[in-house]
């Protein structure tokens, strides 16, 4: 049993180490803002751009002397997009004394973390968690987001399908949190409207070695359009094999596919694919400035959700400035009652926490580029 004692000594030392690390910085003057999301593992590419956005905004604010003389300090924590890790991450951020959090990235991890923040009276602004109940259920009054929810996106997608005159639609998804959620909303809207028939509703298996079975099934279902909920790797596999089989079925997808990587991977087969995505704001002067700042600092174009994260950070900084406080009630109030200029346009937040002034548009791949359809 002394071995046990010895072990616990080691454990105690490590615990102490963790504690000291987290309590080490005690300069009371800074305003701590948490940044949480997947920063390692296979989903890291969705989380890292948010860190960069937060860093760029923080640097700019600090260079101008901070918010009323108080500097911003970022506390960056990884949640690898797993709910069970996100709960620990949230506890860590609360323990570190942050005033608000930019994040999380994945809806599941966000839900798991929000309870912790709510109890500790912290608010979070996510640049990317699109699951509708986060705002609509009313369970998380401390949640805000700078991206439109999935059901809004599904409504845009289905309306577009009607406008194109599609009568038979196959709805597919990747069985994931995001993809299946999106597909469910499309299905619900289609079933309620009865303007088009759902001829197939199925999930495909990511990572399967062959997709021809499901593709043949689409072909034999007689669909004239496919709506796919999921991310671009699966979408490009599907579209490539469909086109190779000379299937002439329209392919509609979501924001997870409205990514330039999709066009590069699928190449010529991507031509003509429709995808919904946030309304194009690349001509917005703030967006141009943010992208330019990113290119100057990191030497490459920003990644996924960068603009949304940039907007989230700006909104938060503005709220702290206007409210002249870092208290939960003051901040939420300020977020809801003030419009702020962001790369996404002039935005504010409604009672539920969704951003006002953020919406979706439909894009089509034309000559190797996504073009917004008006």
């Amino acid at each position: 049993m002394k071995r046990m004692a010895k072990f616990f000594l080691v454990a105690l030392v490590s615990v102490a180490a963790i504690t000291f690390v987290s309590c080490g910085k005690k300069e009371a003057e800074t305003i701590k803002i948490g940044v949480a999301g997947p920063h390692s593992g296979d989903l890291a590419s969705y989380g890292i751009p948010t860190i960069k956005a937060a860093e760029l905004v923080a640097e700019e604010v600090n260079a101008k002397g901070g918010i009323d003389g108080r500097m911003i300090e970022l506390v960056i924590e990884d949640d690898v997009c797993k709910p069970e890790v996100a709960a620990n991450t949230a506890a860590k951020l609360v323990g570190d004394g942050v005033v608000a959090v930019i994040g999380h990235i994945c809806s599941g991890a966000t839900k798991s973390a929000m309870g912790t923040y709510l109890d500790s009276e912290l608010l979070a602004i996510s640049p990317s968690a699109t699951n509708p109940p986060l705002t609509q259920s009313g369970d998380y009054p401390n949640f805000f987001r700078t991206i439109a929810p999935d059901d809004a996106q599904a409504a845009v997608e289905v309306a577009f399908a009607y406008a194109q005159g599609y009568k038979k639609i196959a709805v597919l998804h990747d069985k994931g949190d995001y993809g299946k959620g999106f597909a469910e909303f499309c299905k619900a809207i289609l079933e309620a409207d009865k303007k088009a028939e759902i001829v197939l509703y199925e999930g495909i298996t990511p990572g399967a070695v062959d997709y021809t079975a499901i593709i043949n099934k689409i072909a034999s279902s007689g669909a004239d359009a496919v709506i796919f909920g999921g991310y671009h790797p699966e979408a490009s596999k599907l579209i490539t094999q469909m086109k190779k089989k000379d299937m002439n079925i329209a392919f509609l997808s979501d924001d997870g596919v409205k990514d330039d990587t999709f066009i590069k991977v699928a190449g010529e087969y991507a031509e003509g694919v429709y995808a919904t995505g946030p309304i194009d704001t690349s001509s917005n002067p703030l967006a141009i400035k943010a992208v330019k700042a990113h290119q100057d600092k990191y030497g490459e174009d920003p990644g996924a959700f960068f603009i949304n994260a940039y907007a989230a950070m700006l909104a938060l900084v503005n709220a702290i400035d206007v409210a002249n406080s870092t208290e939960y009630a003051d901040l939420t109030n300020a977020l809801r009652s003030n419009y702020v200029d962001t790369p996404l346009g002039k935005i504010s937040f409604d009672e539920k926490g969704d951003a006002i002034g953020v919406g979706f548009a439909v894009y089509q791949v034309q000559n190797g580029q996504y073009v917004e359809l008006k």
Binding site: F7, T19, H39, N88, K92, S112, D177
Partner: protein
């Protein structure tokens, strides 16, 4: 040691590794932008480290080959011996008890939260240890039972508002029932066939949770699961975290006590006999069907308990938390710690959950380091950190020692 032959060996090893890692370490092709990056520095790095490491490697293997004598100097052996000496047992236990009791009041909420996760793995490890360590049944679908526990609480809470304390035994019960259901068809299977079938059952459970939206809400999961409370008092988060920590502690103590009793019971001895030789144990009058089913369902009970606790702790669950990978992690906990040995499994679980947290500073390399640690650990301590000491009985000749 540093004679010419050794140098030549290391040189060749280093060349071999330079050849081996050449395409993946040196060339980075981006087929999207059609650019190639040549990273020759990596080659030099691989060459030099392979040269040095090959010396270390041969020295370590050599030392291992010199046999038991050398190994007995190891910390692991000392630990194994110390674990058996009664002299330190009481003060040690009291020390640990005090430490455990006061820890959450000093440590941050994050630390408490991480420790609770570690404790949950201790229970999972001990539960799987019953099946794998004692019963010798290789089980790769343990996450399914864990999922049953978590979903029991989440769904019952969602539909009927059932509290944590009611869900706890129910989760364990459902989990045990699933254990029996899985146990029946696999009675005839052995070894690796058993492993793959349990893996299949685990995956089917997850696939059902993922696809049957009307029942389980699919991949979007269930949110807002209540944290445990007493008599309807709603605790603030820091108190709730500490409370869950103490529930976990209580469950660990209970588990250790029960598993320890089980191990020395009639059933426990039957499990061990079955692990050693199924046919011989059957010949000795052990009812294999009953014994196996008991192992499966008793192992499942703990997974059910932890599942409920897991749902209560994270307040949100979805099927992504219950993959094959989760089952493999629990198996690793058992084997790393030392199969069949209770203190071993406890240490294994703590190492397995705390190490990645401590490795956060080397974040992107941590899984790499972790993987190689597993390999090294198995090569140099194949029996686990704290090996189980076999029970031995001494027959005293009459008149001996008088």
């Amino acid at each position: 040691m540093f004679n010419l032959k050794e140098l030549r060996k290391s040189f060749l090893t280093s060349l071999w590794f330079m050849f081996l890692t050449f395409p993946i370490m040196v060339i980075k092709v981006n087929t999207i932008t059609d650019t190639v990056e040549w990273r020759w520095r990596n080659l030099a790095f691989v060459g030099v480290s392979a040269f040095i490491l090959s010396f270390v490697w041969r020295w370590a293997l050599d030392r291992r080959a010199k046999g038991g004598k050398a190994k007995k100097d190891g910390i692991g052996f000392k630990a194994t011996v110390l674990a058996k000496t009664n002299q330190y047992k009481l003060p040690g236990l009291i020390g640990i008890g005090l430490l455990v009791a006061i820890l959450p009041f000093f440590a941050s909420m994050y630390t408490t939260s991480v420790l609770t996760t570690a404790l949950m793995y201790v229970i999972l490890g001990l539960g799987l240890n019953v099946v794998v360590g004692l019963g010798g049944l290789l089980h790769l679908g343990y996450a399914a039972f864990y999922a049953v526990g978590a979903y029991t609480y989440a769904l019952l809470h969602y539909h009927f508002g059932i509290s944590f304390w009611v869900a706890l035994p129910l989760g364990a019960l459902f989990s045990a029932v699933l254990g029996l259901l899985i146990g029946f068809p696999v009675l005839r299977l052995r070894g690796d066939y058993l492993a793959i079938v349990t893996l299949a059952f685990g995956e089917i459970t997850r696939l059902v949770l993922e696809n049957w939206n009307d029942f389980s809400f699919g991949p979007s999961g269930i949110a807002n699961i209540a944290r445990p409370g007493i008599a309807g008092i709603k605790m603030k988060l820091p108190q709730a975290t500490i409370f869950i920590y103490f529930i976990a502690i209580a469950m660990v103590i209970l588990t250790i006590f029960l598993v320890n009793r089980l191990e020395n019971s009639r059933v426990g001895r039957a499990w061990e006999a079955m692990r050693e030789d199924e046919i011989a144990s059957q010949a000795m009058g052990i009812d294999l069907t009953k014994t196996k089913l008991l192992a499966f369902s008793i192992g499942a009970v703990w997974a059910g308990f932890v599942g409920v606790l897991f749902a209560a702790k994270t307040t949100f669950i979805n099927p992504a938390s219950f993959t094959v990978w989760e089952s493999i992690v629990v198996l690793c906990v058992v084997v790393i710690g030392g199969m069949g040995s209770i203190p071993g499994v406890v240490v294994g679980a703590l190492v397995f959950t705390l190490l990645p947290e401590l490795l956060r500073s080397v974040s992107e390399y941590r899984m790499l380091v972790f993987g190689i640690t597993l390999v090294i650990m198995m090569i140099f301590r194949p029996g686990g950190l704290i090996q189980k000491t076999r029970k031995s009985y001494k027959f005293k000749k009459e008149g001996d020692g008088e």
